[in-house]
Every structure is written in structure tokens, then in C-alpha cells.
């Protein structure tokens, strides 16, 4: 069976107005996701993870250009769709949840209007039925007293409730894929636990595929089946979560996993990664991680490593690990 989503050498570059400066925000990314699975995309700020998600939805700013590759969703290349066809896919087949729920809710419309909007747009549902459906959706994201809440406005909700409402909007048309961009960073811990449990239940009920964009490896450990590690616009490692947590092949993944404090290891020194993430407009030659890499060899400084392990389902880009 073909995967639900398959990216083949997807690349998105930001080009300056005169075309003289090019930032390769997403470069040659190959990954796949089966229906009903959860994929975590991890990376630091500026590693290209949000650009990758926006590329899938084709919601990029005008300065961004698609620089080749394919993005197959259900076997069809999203990059070949017309703007009108994309509009029918967004919110209907692929939905997205953003980090800041207040920014994705319109303060002037009631919750019922906003949760029902995707249904009215995509399924031409009459207002009244959309409203009734919105009440049911609020109930499914465990908002208490949904009958009164549908008539209220976003400012009357707490942060956790807003995020759940945005989740309700996301699943309104029963999409096949839900992309969540840092969905819990603005939430408190116990509220985050509630929200993650809710997403997992929704996924089970609707057979939803999820993409989590996060910098938090804990969310990946808790929620995901596969993980894609991004560094400076490249996918440095991709594979099943357990394999990558147990035996990471790329030195960046390994360092990242070791740098996180764990319970029970107090008073031991953390393994820190020296230096800082590179500027995407002035990437070092060769492997972008080599200036910070403890294992770097001469080849890393001269040549970008190719993808290794494509037939095993666990890929990585590293000269040292490949040899």
C-alpha cells in the first residue's frame, strides 16, 4: 500500500527579490507517513520544520519557491495542484493546528461560527446544522457545557480551551492528516497532558495521521511512531522512534538525546553541544553540522553527505556513520 504522505527530495528555498540571495530552508527532504501514524518533526528554531509543514499545505509566503521534488498525498502530487484544488484539500483532507490558538481564532466571531466554518465551506452544510455539529465537536474535544460555549467568543476561553477549540476546527471535516505545529508549547504541563491524551483519542477514533512539529523530544517519545530530525534545512535522520532513541546514527541526534536532563541523573554533567546552530544564509561547506560535530573528518568539511539506509526505513546523512 502506498503511504498517505510521501515527500521525495522536497525542497523549498527563500529567494530575495533580485534572486541573488537564496536560503535553502528545506533541502532535499525525503520521508513518508502511513495512514493513522504519527510523525514527529524535530529541530531547533530555523531548522526548517515549519517551512516543511507549510510547504505541504502550500501556504508559503511569496518569497518561497518550490525548488524541486515531489509531495505525494494519497498518491497525488500536491505541488501540481491548482490553487483552487489546494483550497479544497486544506481543512478538508489536511488540516493544521498552529502554536498560538489566539492567533488562529477570530475575536469577533463566536466559537460556533468558527468551528462550523470548515463544514459550511467544504461541505456546504447549512448554518444551523453546522452549528449543531460544532456543538458536538466541542463535546468531542471535552469542552464542558458545549451548548453555552458555542455562543461565546474566544476571549472568554482559557488557553487550554482555545487550543482544544482549534483542535475541534482541525478535525471538523474529518481530515486524513492533521499537522500540529508546536501545539502545546503555550500550555501548562497538566493541560498539555490533557491535550496530548485528547489528540491520541481523536487519532484512534478517526484513523487520523498526525504530524507533530516540535523541538521537544519528550513529545516525540510519548506520541510518535516515526521521527524526522532536521538540522539547517536538511533531514539528518529519519526512522522509527524506538530505533532512533535506542541507536541514533547521526551525531546531532545522539547529542540532542544526551543533552536533555532526565529524572534520576541529577548532579551529573549534561553532554552539551558546542557552538550554535548555523545561519541558513551562510551555511558551512559540506555537512552543516561539522563545526559542532565531535566526530567530524576531513570529508565532512568538503562534501555534503548523501542519504544512507534508504532501503531500511532508517535513513541518515552522515559520512562517519555510513562508513
Amino acid at each position: 500500500m502506498a503511504p498517505l504522505l510521501e515527500l521525495r527530495n522536497a525542497s523549498t528555498h527563500y529567494v530575495s527579490a533580485r534572486g541573488t540571495r537564496v536560503v535553502k530552508a528545506v533541502d532535499n527532504v525525503t520521508l513518508s507517513l502511513e495512514a493513522g501514524e504519527t510523525l514527529g518533526i524535530v529541530g531547533e528554531s530555523g531548522s526548517g520544520k515549519t517551512t516543511l509543514a507549510l510547504s505541504i499545505l502550500r501556504l508559503l509566503p511569496t518569497a518561497a519557491v518550490n525548488a524541486g521534488g515531489e509531495m505525494l498525498f494519497d498518491g497525488e502530487d500536491l505541488l501540481k495542484k491548482s490553487p483552487e484544488e489546494m483550497r479544497q484539500i486544506r481543512g478538508k483532507k489536511i488540516a493544521m493546528i498552529l502554536q498560538d490558538p489566539m492567533a488562529s481564532l477570530n475575536p469577533l466571531f463566536t466559537i460556533g461560527d468558527q468551528v462550523g466554518e470548515p463544514l459550511r465551506v467544504h461541505e456546504s452544510m447549512p448554518r444551523k446544522r453546522a452549528w449543531a455539529r460544532a456543538t458536538a465537536l466541542l463535546k468531542s474535544v471535552r469542552i464542558t457545557a458545549p451548548e453555552t460555549r458555542v455562543r461565546e467568543y474566544p476571549h472568554q476561553m482559557s488557553g487550554g480551551m482555545r487550543q482544544r477549540i482549534v483542535g475541534a476546527m482541525g478535525i471538523a471535516c474529518e481530515p486524513r492528516l492533521l499537522i500540529a505545529d508546536e501545539p502545546t508549547t503555550s500550555l501548562d504541563l497538566t493541560i498539555q497532558a490533557q491535550y496530548l491524551a485528547l489528540l491520541r483519542d481523536l487519532q484512534r477514533e478517526h484513523g487520523l495521521a498526525l504530524i507533530f512539529i516540535t523541538h521537544n523530544l519528550g513529545i516525540v517519545a510519548k506520541m510518535c511512531d516515526r521521527v524526522a530530525v532536521m538540522y539547517a534545512g536538511r533531514l539528518v535522520e529519519f526512522g522509527p522512534v524506538r530505533k532512533i532513541f535506542d541507536a541514533p546514527r547521526h551525531p546531532y541526534t545522539r547529542a540532542l538525546l544526551q543533552s536533555i536532563p532526565r529524572f534520576g541523573d541529577s548532579r551529573t554533567k549534561l553532554t552539551a553541544i558546542d557552538g550554535q546552530p548555523p545561519d541558513l544564509s551562510a551555511l558551512p561547506l559540506g555537512c552543516a553540522f561539522h563545526p559542532r560535530c565531535p566526530d567530524a573528518i576531513d570529508r565532512c568539511r568538503a562534501e555534503a553527505p548523501p542519504e544512507t539506509g534508504t532501503n531500511t526505513g532508517h535513513t541518515f546523512r552522515c559520512w562517519v556513520a555510513a562508513s
Partner: protein, 320 residues
């Protein structure tokens, strides 16, 4: 031995005014009678969700807010009894590092001036002394000495946080309040800063009041942990014990909500219902009772007293 800092029944209420005459309509009980100590050379970690009063606690300790009631003792001396010179000494002794190094450094000042500003306000030093001190501070936090002539925008987030740490060290304080010092930084940078803070602690004998929402980081950094909920400390004690065998149902739920570090790490699943109530109108009895999985009848009306069990202070009716 007297602890470095001691808080006894520390309370801060913010009056809420309303109506056309601006009459008082009650108070936000931001911090409601908390007691803790910070020992010399040790770290007290404070955890809790937004609105639990951890930032107000930090402000009280920094002297940025006056307590409504209760006592703060620094090196044994009651803060309210201090004269002007004593207050000044106190302020020198306690410094802060804030969350966002993009907001806490003046973009129009050179790094050297930023770091030395506290020292210049508090002491008269010759130019040569200033230069020497500046170099040793930069060296201490791992920045090159040429950094002094640059501006903050020329540095990355992690380096900026090093600058903020150097500034907090310039007056040789004995206590540093760290309010979410790594949460604005990139994941790969956090460990650098946490390691630096630990090195500085052992080298200079510093005490920390470490406030963060990343529980694993707090457990990693702290000797003791205080768990706050709606202005009260519900559990306080040895860091490893609080983290691994917590007693209070809220602490248990909080640490159960912490994310695992490995997919096979199974944590107790406790998903709390509801959200933190408003501190303007906290529930009667135990503040946690509307969300508590082991709530009893008396929790709804009677405020639990603090008990000490095996060195851990717990405020819960389950342990009476």
C-alpha cells in the same frame, strides 16, 4: 547554621479594584503564606503551573514587591528591619537572570557596559580595576574578552544568556534568582547554560532559586524542590524524593505529566480534569480539591495543615 534566605508565612495579595469608585473588590492571593529556606551553596527549585505564584515569589525575594505579610530573612536579618544601607547590601547580595535574553539586555549598550553597570552603580572603581574585573567575568562565563566591545545583537541566544549571567555575577552575589533561564533557548544550547550554572555554583558557592516549568531540568539542577499550586506550597523537600516518590496528589499528577525521555519509559498516567482555578476566587478548603483524584469530604472545607513526613513537607489531608 542560619540559612542564607528564609521565608516564613510569606504572603502577597494584590487588591482588585472595580466599580466607578474604585472600591476594593477583593484580592488576588498570588502568594498565600509560604515558607521555605535556601541554604548556602544550594539550589531550591520552584515548580508549578502559570498563576501558581512562582514569579511573585521571585519578585518578593528580589525585593521588587513588598510582602503583604510574613517575613523574609537574609543571612538571619529580617528584611523589614533593615535600614537603607542594609537594603542596599541585600540588593547586592541577590541578583537575577531572566527568561528572555533578547529582552533583558539593552540593545544600545555595549556588552562591557551591560555587565559592569551594577558594579559602577554600587562601587567606585578605577578604570584599570573595571577592566580586570570585566575580563575575569567574561572568562568565567566562557566568552572571549573582545565581547566587551560588541553589542547584544551580535550574539546568539545562548551567548546573550551568558552575558546576562555575567552581569548577575558582577556584584559577587550570594543568591541568584533564575526565572526560566533556559526556556527561551534552543534545545542544543540549554545543556551548555545548565552546565555553566552548575559549574559557577560549585566554583563560587552560589545559591540559586531556580524557577522553571521543565520538571526534568528542575530535578536536575535542584537540591530541594517546592511545588506550588494557587499561591501555596503543597510539597517541599529533597529534590529526588519529590520527583520520584511524590506524595501530594498534585505533585504526582504534575510529574506524571512530564514527558518521557524514551518511548519505553512508562509513566503513571494521571490526566487531571479541569484547569487551574482563578487565584481571585480560589476554592475553599484545599485549593486543589476540585481536580484531585483522591478528594475526600473534608478537603472541600478544611485547609490541610503542613505535615513533615520523612523530611518532606506535604500539605494534604491524606497524610494526617
Amino acid at each position: 547554621m542560619t540559612p542564607l534566605l528564609e521565608a516564613a508565612d510569606l504572603t502577597k495579595h494584590f487588591p482588585v479594584k472595580g466599580g466607578i469608585f474604585g472600591r476594593s473588590r477583593g484580592a488576588v492571593r498570588a502568594v498565600d503564606g509560604i515558607s521555605f529556606v535556601v541554604e548556602k551553596g544550594k539550589t531550591l527549585g520552584v515548580v508549578g503551573e502559570s498563576g501558581c505564584g512562582k514569579t511573585t515569589t521571585a519578585k518578593l525575594v528580589l525585593g521588587l514587591e513588598e510582602p503583604t505579610a510574613g517575613v523574609l530573612r537574609f543571612e538571619g536579618a529580617d528584611l523589614t528591619s533593615l535600614d537603607k544601607a542594609g537594603r542596599r547590601r541585600y540588593r547586592r547580595g541577590i541578583q537575577a537572570v531572566f527568561q528572555d535574553p533578547y529582552a533583558s539586555l539593552n540593545p544600545r549598550m555595549r556588552v562591557g557596559d551591560i555587565i559592569m553597570e551594577p558594579l559602577i552603580t554600587h562601587e567606585r572603581l578605577s578604570g584599570a580595576d573595571i577592566k580586570k574585573r570585566l575580563e575575569s567575568l567574561l572568562d568565567l562565563v566562557g566568552l572571549p574578552s573582545r565581547a566587551a566591545d560588541l553589542f547584544p545583537h551580535e550574539f546568539s541566544g545562548g551567548q546573550r544568556q551568558r552575558i546576562a549571567i555575567a552581569r548577575s555575577l558582577s556584584l559577587n552575589p550570594s543568591l541568584i534568582v533564575l526565572d526560566e533561564p533556559v526556556s527561551a533557548l534552543d534545545v542544543s544550547i540549554r545543556a551548555q547554560i545548565l552546565n555553566l550554572l552548575r559549574e559557577l555554583q560549585s566554583e563560587l558557592g552560589l545559591s540559586y532559586l531556580f524557577i522553571a516549568h521543565d520538571l526534568a531540568a528542575v530535578a536536575h539542577m535542584s537540591h530541594t524542590i517546592a511545588v506550588m499550586y494557587l499561591g501555596r506550597i503543597v510539597e517541599l523537600g529533597d529534590a529526588a524524593t519529590v520527583a520520584n516518590s511524590s506524595r501530594h496528589p498534585y505533585t504526582r499528577a504534575l510529574f506524571a505529566a512530564a514527558l518521557p525521555s524514551h518511548p519505553d519509559e512508562k509513566r503513571e498516567e494521571i490526566v487531571l480534569a479541569g484547569e487551574v482555578p482563578s487565584p481571585l476566587n480560589p476554592p475553599a478548603g484545599c485549593h486543589f480539591h476540585p481536580r484531585c483524584p483522591s478528594v475526600m469530604e473534608r478537603c472541600r472545607s478544611e485547609e490541610p495543615k503542613v505535615r513533615t513526613i520523612d523530611g518532606i513537607r506535604v500539605a494534604c489531608h491524606l497524610y494526617e
